[in-house]
């Protein structure tokens, strides 16, 4: 590794979220272990220490008391009595007179570094001929020098063992922490890796890829699901664009070809100017038709893409429907059809007024077209108990077979019965797109089930809050 690479490696490691999580894990785990050991230490080694000091102090106080009451003799008796009853053989006493002569106790010499006073001293003594560590307290009792202490050898041994244990366990926890950190990092990478791989495939153009969901309902699954929802939406949009361009490529070609043939034929064969003029007028009409199809396709695409959701506003659906009813009522009347409408006083909803208007207009337009003269068309709107807003248009036309119903709503689909009527086959596609835009759907059914002809009923279900 070159110097530069080594210098770059540290920041790159720090940039890895996996490493940072791992480091955090190590620190937390280490801190927990240290705390645990500290508590353990304080409650064992330190407690033992405190016990020793308390015992020495109590002993010293008791002996002092004894000296005050019983004088030198009493004190010597007390020390001897204590030494005799000391089963653990830990106690250390030494009583000397002014000249340093031993009066009582189990030490031969006064330890070198011990001075009279109130402080505890650690010292090395010869205890029963064996060198040992001890904690002592020395007092001056009216010329007599009293030394009270405890042999600490065993305790120090215990402490050593404890310390050893602590070091081992600290090392072990550090090792475990680092292993845990590595595992966390690996797990993190393993969970994120499929997401990354999917993203790369998608960036590479394969929109069908999805992030695998582990089924653990955790944060990663939630991330995966949101990503997949987003991808579904993007794919639907792309599909929409693709199907519009397919439709344009395929279905606009037909009328364009037709118009072109007619014009070409006229140029070749028209006998006089009047015939030529008629052909050109027909050509213009054909072009207008093509441009209408185009407009309709764009509107559908616009609705399907959901781009118009930004234009959603609250409005009264009934006011819009009354308007349409009035507009188309005249057209129905002209064909001696009856347009029966039934609305509540008002249905407030959030949506795109223009698109809904056009959807209902398309349905009424169809209904008027397919209902025979003298027939009945019904337009109704209501707020259903299941919270849908329903707008239904029913006609007394030939209706649709189950097969046709399934295909209705496909772009450019036209039922057999409608082949000879003008229309583009896009009306219901728009209705469907508009319903979907408003969080709803379209249902097709017989207007009067069982009757011949059954008529067609188209129900648009809309969600009230958009």
């Amino acid at each position: 590794m070159s110097d530069r690479a080594r210098r770059a490696a540290a920041p790159r490691l720090l940039q890895s979220a996996g490493f940072r999580f791992a480091a955090l894990f190590t620190v937390l785990f280490g801190a927990a272990s240290v705390t645990l050991i500290a508590v353990l230490w304080i409650s064992t080694a330190a407690a033992l220490d405190r016990q020793v000091l308390a015992a020495i102090r109590a002993d010293a106080v008791a002996l002092t008391e004894r000296w005050r009451n019983g004088g030198e003799g009493g004190l010597v008796d007390a020390i001897e009595e204590r030494l005799a009853t000391d089963l653990t053989n830990e106690s250390i006493y030494l009583l000397q007179d002014q000249h340093g002569a031993k009066l009582a106790g189990n030490l031969v010499n006064w330890p070198t570094n011990v001075e009279l006073g109130m402080t505890f001293t650690r010292t090395r003594i010869m205890h029963d001929g064996i060198p040992a560590d001890a904690r002592v307290l020395a007092r001056d009792l009216g010329g007599l020098r009293l030394l009270v202490g405890r042999d600490e050898s065993e305790r120090l041994q215990l402490r050593l063992l404890l310390t050893e244990g602590v070091v081992w366990s600290l090392g072990a926890s550090l090792l475990l922490a680092m292993m845990g950190a590595a595992l966390v990092r690996r797990a993190l990478e393993r969970r994120l890796e499929p997401v990354m791989r999917t993203a790369q495939h998608i960036a590479g153009g394969d929109l069908s890829r999805r992030v695998p969901v582990a089924g653990r309902a955790d944060e990663f699954d939630r991330l995966a699901r949101s990503m997949n929802t987003m991808l579904d939406r993007i794919q639907a949009l792309m599909q929409g664009i693709k199907s519009v361009s397919d439709a344009i490529a395929h279905d606009l070609r037909t009328p364009i070809a037709r118009a072109r043939t007619k014009l070409e034929e006229a140029v070749e064969t028209a006998s006089d100017e009047a015939a030529l003029r008629a052909a050109m007028e027909q050509g213009i009409a054909d072009l207008d038709h093509i441009s209408r199809i185009f407009q309709a396709l764009l509107r559908i695409a616009e609705a399907e893409a959901g781009a118009r959701r930004a234009a959603f506003a609250e409005f009264d659906l009934v006011a819009v429907l009354r308007d349409v009813e009035e507009f188309y009522g005249v057209a129905a009347e002209a064909r001696e059809q009856r347009l029966e409408a039934s609305f509540p006083d008002s249905i407030m909803m959030v949506g795109d007024r223009d698109l809904l208007l056009q959807a209902v207009a398309n349905l009424l337009d169809n209904a008027i077209k397919f209902t025979p003269d003298g027939g009945v068309i019904r337009l109704l709107a209501r707020e259903r108990d299941d919270d849908w807003i329903e707008v239904a248009v029913a006609d007394s036309g030939p209706g649709l077979s189950a097969d046709e119903r399934a295909r209705a709503g496909e772009r450019f689909f036209r039922a057999d019965a409608s082949r000879n009527t003008p229309g583009s086959g896009l009306g219901l596609s728009l209705v469907r797109a508009v319903a979907t835009l408003h969080g709803g759907r379209v249902e097709l059914g017989d207007a009067v089930p069982g009757a011949t002809p059954p008529g067609l009923e188209v129900r648009i279900l809309l969600s009230a809050d958009g």
Binding site: I284, L287, D288, S291, R292, Q295, A296, L298, R299, E302, R308, A311, D323, E326, F327, Y328, V330, A331, E333, A334, D354, L357, Q358, A361, D365, I368, K369, P422, G423
Partner: protein, 226 residues
């Protein structure tokens, strides 16, 4: 009438210019937004016909916004291939007075041009409109012909009002749809024709002189002379 046409497509520009000139108008043409804005700001026009997307960094919307900021209130008709509802709204919000989507029939353009140029003045709102012996009272919302009251429904009243405000001018079906019904889509069937013919029947019943005339390939016109 002096009209400024700002349109970058040479063929469309030539066609529109020729058509408007044949209709008796004086047309200046600018092929890009910069020249268009300069001409519109420095000379007096009765109407601007603007394309939305223009070369030269200044598009149609910018021209209108700039002019309106300068207090220039010349009527503006947008002529655009951008046909989405939002685009229309954007154009009208910027200060445009009308919006026509390409491709268009010239008759449609001409009708809109003339309607804009002779817009009823806002300063002195008329309370009474009259064509021959037909009289429309805007205050009492009643219609009389030859002194005889004719019953019309509210929408028919608005339809008639629109026709009469543009008496002597062609009013297209799309214009009626937009201005009387506020519908901005193509209803495909000729529902408008049915509405107009119903109104026509009411007005002409008992009179031998028809007032509402059908203009072939264009729309309708109300006028006194046949």
């Amino acid at each position: 009438m002096r009209i400024l046409l700002v349109e970058d497509d040479a063929e469309v520009a030539r066609f529109v210019k020729k058509g408007l000139q044949e209709a008796g108008h004086n047309v200046e043409h600018a092929p890009n937004g910069r020249d268009g804005l300069f001409l519109a700001a420095s000379e007096q026009f009765d109407l601007l016909v603007l394309d939305r997307m223009l070369p030269g960094g200044v598009d149609g919307v910018r021209i209108v916004e700039t002019l309106r900021q300068q207090g220039n209130r010349t009527p503006v008709l947008f002529l655009s291939a951008l046909g989405a509802v939002d685009e229309r709204v954007k154009g009208l919000k910027a200060g445009g007075d009308d919006y026509l989507v390409k491709p268009f029939a010239f008759a449609e353009l001409l009708a809109r041009v003339e309607a804009l140029a002779r817009r009823p003045s806002v300063d002195a709102p008329a309370t009474r409109l009259r064509v021959a012996d037909l009289e429309l009272d805007l205050l009492s919302r009643t219609v009389n012909r030859g002194g005889k009251k004719i019953d019309v429904q509210p929408r028919e009243f608005r339809l008639l009002e629109h026709l009469m405000r543009h008496a002597g001018q062609v009013v297209t079906r799309t214009m009626l749809l937009e201005k009387v019904w506020d519908y901005h889509f193509d209803p495909q069937t000729n529902v408008i024709d049915v509405h107009v013919s119903r109104l026509r029947q009411k007005l002409d019943k008992g009179f031998d002189k028809p007032l509402i005339h059908t203009v072939r390939n264009a729309g309708y016109m109300i006028r006194a002379e046949p």
